[in-house]
Amino acid sequence: MTPSLTHAELAALIKGKAGITVDPLELERPGVTFEEFGVDSLGLLGVVGELENRHGLQITSGAEMSKTPAEFLQAVNTSVKAGA
């Protein structure tokens, strides 16, 4: 069983794949968007690719277009669970 992606892990992935430092607590703030941090769809696509490679899974197409961390985590975690 693959554990769900947490805000802390997402922050670390964003740092590694897009070079942007984000406070994990900020990612949890209700209504917060990726745009506020300057994280674009290419950055999220890099995160998706890393998660897919790491877990050997296919993540729901379009996850990289998520506007908010909440949306993104839901898309990713649904995919991870479906594949587990």
Binding site: G19, I20, L42
Partner: protein, 413 residues
């Protein structure tokens, strides 16, 4: 020239340099003026066992200290150079960006090779691990247009942006493009060229150029216009500028460092150096005409100085064809012999050197060259003091582009 055109005449108000012989204009000019040579063995990782050994590497530059982490991850070294040079140029210009509309500032760059090092890393992921290991920023980072896009994103510049893909001479063509942008009404343009061709994949791409110097000896690898000429040593780095309308620059009390007075470009085919004589002469005439400049007004020529006998001969003859009798008297120099040719960045660095030369009243020497086998007054060994009001900068590319730019001194007229 109509009043409108005169008001919208483009001038340089900021210079930013990242070069093998100096990061920042002060260090660059000191080295250029002294005729220092910094050519040496390429020390970058993975480059040591190639049949190209001598180049001009930018050593005094820390990308980590110059650009934000996101751009370290998302862009290539050539874009890091462009960003750092743009920062220098903007600071030098004194433009109050906070008070300007984002639509008032455009960006123009030229690049010949793009982000080769970034591209190599991702291609190694592709062949080593598979397509799913290629990062998404590959789609933009290695593209030759990346620096324009990323400089505009980083600075929030939403004015007209452009990329010139016209071979090495693109470094001059980009300035002409920026001048047109200013004439059409944009307040300021960040413009120039920087390259980073010293990485293994990029170097392999250059090995097919017959003009590339294979010399192992930094002292004799790049000796343009001399009987020992054996090709050119490549370099990395470049220069960025801030260009504005003359009126706007004067209105805000900016120091006008030079006027972009005239430019023209021609094309004569890849490695057809004999034909480049007519093409370069035609470009010089066109640039003089646009600048309303008589040949004998040219006080100094910054030569392309490719460094092969055929190309050097063609350039010397082109200068004679276009400048007539004056060609025998005008000082000609090639500071790049001391640090190499940074492809599109090379003419941009020559423009920086030409502006500084006019400001200091000094023609810098052509480093390491002592013997000259063409009919030119090539300045060698030591800098020469001279009153310089007008400079001619020449550039040719390996793929056949030729360009000429006439610069007038900014202050005092």
């Amino acid at each position: 020239m109509t009043d409108h055109q005169a008001q919208r005449r483009a001038v340089l108000t900021g210079i930013g340099v990242v070069a093998p012989n100096g990061v920042g204009t002060d260090d660059f000019w000191k080295a250029v003026r002294e005729g220092a040579s910094v050519l040496g063995p390429i020390a970058r990782e993975g480059c040591g066992d190639q049949p190209l050994r001598v180049a001009g590497e930018v050593r005094g530059f820390s990308p980590q200290d110059s650009v934000e982490e996101r751009y370290l991850v998302q862009t290539d070294r050539f874009t890091h150079f462009a960003m750092a040079a743009a920062d220098f140029a903007l600071a030098d210009s004194g433009l109050d960006l906070a008070a300007m509309s984002p639509f008032a500032v455009g960006v123009v760059t030229a690049a010949g090779s793009g982000g080769g090092e970034f591209g190599q890393r991702e291609l190694q992921q592709l062949w080593g691990h598979g397509p799913q290991y290629v990062g998404p920023y590959q789609s933009i980072a290695w593209f030759y247009a990346a620096s324009t896009g990323q400089v505009s994103i980083r600075g929030g510049f939403k004015g007209p942006c452009g990329v010139v893909a016209s071979d090495e001479a693109g470094g001059l063509d980009a300035l002409a493009h920026a001048a047109r942008t200013i004439r059409r009404g944009t307040e300021a343009a960040v413009v120039g060229a920087a390259e980073a061709p010293l990485a293994p994949y990029s170097m392999v791409c250059q090995l097919g150029y017959p003009e590339l110097s294979r010399s192992l000896d930094p002292d004799s690898a790049y000796l343009p216009f001399s009987p020992q000429a054996c090709g050119f040593a490549p370099a990395e780095g470049g220069a960025m500028f801030v260009v504005e309308s003359h009126t706007a620059a004067l209105a805000r009390g900016a120091q006008v460092r030079a006027v972009l007075a005239g430019h023209a470009a021609t094309f004569t085919g890849a490695s057809r150096w004999e034909e480049s004589r007519a093409g370069l002469a035609h470009a010089i005439r066109g640039a003089l005409e646009e600048a309303r400049c008589a040949p004998d007004e040219i006080d100094v020529v910054f030569a392309d100085a490719l460094g092969t006998p055929a190309a050097d001969r063609a350039e010397a003859l082109a200068i004679a064809d276009a400048l007539g009798e004056h060609a025998a008297h005008v000082p000609v120099t090639a500071p790049k012999a001391g640090f190499g040719r940074a492809y599109c960045g090379a003419p941009a660095l020559d423009v920086a050197a030409a502006v500084l030369a006019m400001e200091y009243g000094v023609v810098p020497p052509t480093p390491r060259v002592t013997e000259i086998c063409h009919e030119l007054d090539l300045v060698t060994r030591f800098a020469r003091t001279a009153e310089l009001r007008t400079a001619l900068v020449l550039s040719r590319g390996l793929m056949g582009s030729n360009a000429a730019l006439v610069l007038r001194r900014g202050q005092g007229d």
